[in-house]
Symmetry: C2
């Protein structure tokens, strides 16, 4: 049986140390981009167009696109809504192409251009995504989005949850310290995930801004079977069996 390689990158600042060519990259940004993207597709969005620059998002708005855009957790004044998964309701977004600009997540997509596939992972789609990965027979990089180039606890424990499942399948092995650490942190966290996540810095940043209403939702397992995938720079639903 062929065994595939599993690695974890704990922050975009370290992604230059990883070679993603030919590999599956799973981008994880639990609070809140990954969770919002999974929810948007679950609720019927047709496409999400990631943009990094505010001006680019504003230009799309002028052209009539729906725009989800925030910086540092605050909705930009010209945008239709921000980055909470709760914004992406079916009545607003069904069948729509949505321009999506965030502080962090969208910039990261561009780092993974050479991958075999770049997909979006969260607790919301963990089982479906793990199952799909396991069928692909490829090396895997779990890529934590972190916070402004630094480590974030919630993305790391989510990576650890993915890594635990993949390693248990015996299809993967790892010699990557980041993977080992994320698995151990997940084992500590999973005993009481809500309580554990409560200490994460990003959770506190969201609370200060009154944006923490979606936290419990973001750590819900298997809300959806949808796997968002990046194709030619656009987020779409991955067609899979």
């Amino acid at each position: 049986m062929e065994i595939f390689k599993l690695e974890t990158c704990l922050s975009p600042s370290m992604f230059h140390r990883y070679d993603c060519e030919g590999k599956i990259v799973v981008i994880i940004d639990v609070f809140r981009a990954s969770s919002a993207i999974c929810t948007a597709f679950h609720n019927g969005a047709a496409e999400l167009i990631p943009v990094t620059q505010v001006e680019e998002a504003r230009e799309y708005k002028r052209k009539g696109f729906l725009v989800a855009a925030e910086r540092d957790g605050f909705v930009l004044d010209f945008a239709d809504f921000g980055n909470s998964p709760f914004n992406f309701t079916p009545e607003k977004i069904e069948g729509k192409r949505i321009v999506y600009s965030t502080t962090n997540g969208t910039q990261i997509i561009q780092l993974t251009k050479k991958s075999f596939r770049t997909v979006i992972g969260s607790f919301l789609n963990i089982s479906a995504l793990t199952k799909w990965i396991s069928g692909e027979k490829k090396d895997v990089i779990l890529f934590c989005a972190g916070w402004k180039g630094n480590f974030s606890l919630e993305d790391t424990i989510c990576a650890g949850a993915f890594a635990s499942r993949l390693l248990e399948s015996k299809l993967y092995n790892t010699i990557c310290d980041s993977t080992l650490a994320s698995v151990d942190l997940w084992k500590t966290a999973e005993k009481n995930l809500s309580k554990y996540i409560d200490k994460a810095a990003q959770r506190n940043r969201l609370r200060e801004k009154g944006l923490d209403d979606c936290i419990e939702f973001c750590i819900t397992h298997d809300f959806t079977n949808i796997i968002p995938v990046v194709e030619d720079g656009i987020l779409k639903i991955l067609k899979h069996s």
Copy 2:
């Protein structure tokens, strides 16, 4: 009572996210630079002169200095010895100024120039260093050297051991996810440190090169009370009460 801030940086790739001005920075490179430096001073070295370039080390050798120099774990041909703590024996080094060039550790020192004090931390001097830090009344950054810009498990758990002690003293608090993670990893690791460290990638890299004879020594607590400090770019023994 004034409370001071504790942060942890998990890799040099993320150090640009930290402002070390006026703070104590503890550089941690368990396998093997921190451990070797602590041992060198314990065994009587007068000064260690860190150099980043091989040619610079070679030039010092020509001038008659003792030179400890390796790249990727291998001793350079012109050097007197390499980076194992076991090389720094009293008969070789007592009273000497030693030029010290390594793959990783020495380059990191230069990143911390603006600190109040940059000191070298390891399991070997954990109690003495924790005691000194606690008396200084300064914010603290635990700076994991990692491996070629990436995360390393052994440095992170050592940072977690320092952080656990500092946080228990109630003199420090943290809102830093990296600190929280390192403390949790330490709590997992400390139950059986030898076994835990056995899975770290760097440990395996050293084993492949036959350089793992010092691993047990490097995780020994409190071998020395010496605190190495950087002064004008040179490593010396910190004079403290």
